[in-house]
């Protein structure tokens, strides 16, 4: 298997067909392991009590909402500079998945905030910047689909994605730069994580599962997009 060949849509299609079942079954398997650990093995938190269990989906969803954006930003750069069609296709397939994960992050965070902070929503830097990320994803979906010529949509959506990168460091470090109601990072910090290992395990499995779910949905959407473009080419040739 030569990985450089993957940049050709047909080769990618074949490769994706081969790994799709593994990714799909893997995501379900890890999901069940994660659910088992988060409901049966994890103890309640000393302060938050049982609502700590919401964290096991909130945090992985938040990680993915950022990671998917990084993927899209790289693809947008490649598409603008090298005019590579697969980069556009990946970017277009990722946007709805990123939007869904951001939505999940916002909703679960809000549900967690009610019993913990005593409010559904506050306009602090972390929550606001995550909401802006959601709007950027929605904007990407609207822009990329609002032109008759899909190439134009791809180009403008890529520009939007690159401009929107500014938001990423703001989300990541907002809790350190400003006084926010949202707590600072527990795992992604330089010294050891401040989460007990019994609570880290479900988080870890859920994160793997969410990543595989993202991959499996992305593969489906990419293959759909390749077929749609083939149809466009056939139509324009006649």
């Amino acid at each position: 298997m030569n990985f450089f060949n993957l940049s050709s849509p047909n080769k990618f299609q074949k490769f994706s067909k081969r790994i799709y079942p593994w990714v799909s079954y893997g995501s379900v398997m890890f999901l069940f392991i994660g659910l088992f650990f988060s409901f049966f093995k994890s103890p309640p938190d000393y302060l938050q009590g049982e609502s700590v269990r919401i964290m096991y989906i909130h945090v992985p969803a938040a990680w993915l909402s950022l990671q998917i954006y990084v993927v899209m930003a790289i693809c947008s750069f490649v598409s603008l500079v090298y005019k590579h069609s697969l980069a556009d296709i990946i970017s277009r397939s990722c946007a709805p998945i990123g939007a869904t994960y951001t939505f999940i992050t916002l909703i679960t965070g809000s549900i967690w905030g009610k019993p913990t902070w005593g409010t559904w929503w506050v306009w602090d830097a972390r929550l606001t910047s995550e909401l802006i990320l959601f709007f950027i994803y929605i904007g990407h979906m609207i822009v990329s689909n609002s032109y008759e010529d899909y190439r134009k949509g791809d180009k403008n959506a890529a520009i939007l994605t690159l401009v929107g990168i500014v938001n990423l460091p703001i989300i990541k470090w907002s809790v350190d730069w400003w006084n926010t109601l949202h707590q600072p990072a527990s795992i992604m910090k330089l010294d050891s994580p401040s989460i007990d290992s019994e609570m880290l395990t479900p988080l870890f499995f859920m994160a793997i599962s969410f990543f595989l779910i993202f991959l499996s949905i992305m593969l489906t959407r990419i293959s759909t997009e390749i077929i749609v473009r083939k149809i466009e080419i056939i139509k324009s040739n006649f």
């Binding site: 103890p43 309640p44 938190d45 000393y46 302060l47 938050q48 009590g49 700590v52 964290m55 750069f77 603008l80 500079v81 090298y82 019993p115 913990t116 902070w117 005593g118 409010t119 506050v122 306009w123 602090d124 830097a125 690159l162 401009v163 990168i165 500014v166 703001i170 730069w177 400003w178 006084n179 926010t180 109601l181 707590q183 600072p184 990072a185 527990s186 401040s194 989460i195 007990d196 019994e198 609570m199």
Partner: protein, 150 residues
């Protein structure tokens, strides 16, 4: 230069300029994005004391006093407590229901106005820290701290 390389230089330099602009803008706006102030910042009166503001810090140990009052034929709880950042502190008055996580020596953010050096809160939010652990381990930690202290 090939068209491809031209685009690479153009897009990279455009992005670099854009992000530099954003960083400059951000450094200037940073102060305005503060969600709450610490008691020390209040003391140095970085803020106007007539507007609605938010103050955040720890609830001082042993400072919470509760009393029941009657207002509009309704029994309400009036809570007095002190918020501290271990340098300065602010006295807070609040009537209403506290969030479950409100405890002494835990973080809170209160929203309201100052009146005669006392902060009248209209909203109290509990702030959670970045530590997650089971209750047994917390108990053990507390025991250990007590032993070290004595």
């Amino acid at each position: 230069m090939k068209a491809k390389n031209k685009r690479l230089v153009l897009i990279t330099s455009l992005l670099a300029t854009f992000f530099l602009g954003c960083i400059l803008l951000f450094l200037n706006l940073r102060e305005n994005l503060i969600y709450f102030y610490s008691p020390t910042e209040i003391n140095e009166s970085k803020t106007s004391k007539t507007e609605k503001i938010r103050v955040g810090g720890m609830v001082s140990k042993g400072s919470v006093k509760r009393e029941l009052i009657m207002r509009d034929n309704e029994k309400l709880e009036k809570i007095n407590f002190e918020i501290t950042d271990f340098e300065n502190s602010v006295q807070v008055n609040y009537i209403g229901i506290l969030p479950d996580l409100f405890k002494e020596e835990q973080g809170v953010v209160v929203e309201g106005i100052f009146k005669n050096q006392i902060f009248l809160a209209s909203k109290v939010l509990a702030k959670h820290d970045e530590n997650y652990m089971p209750p047994e381990i917390k108990k053990m930690q507390l025991l250990k701290d007590n032993n070290d202290g004595s």
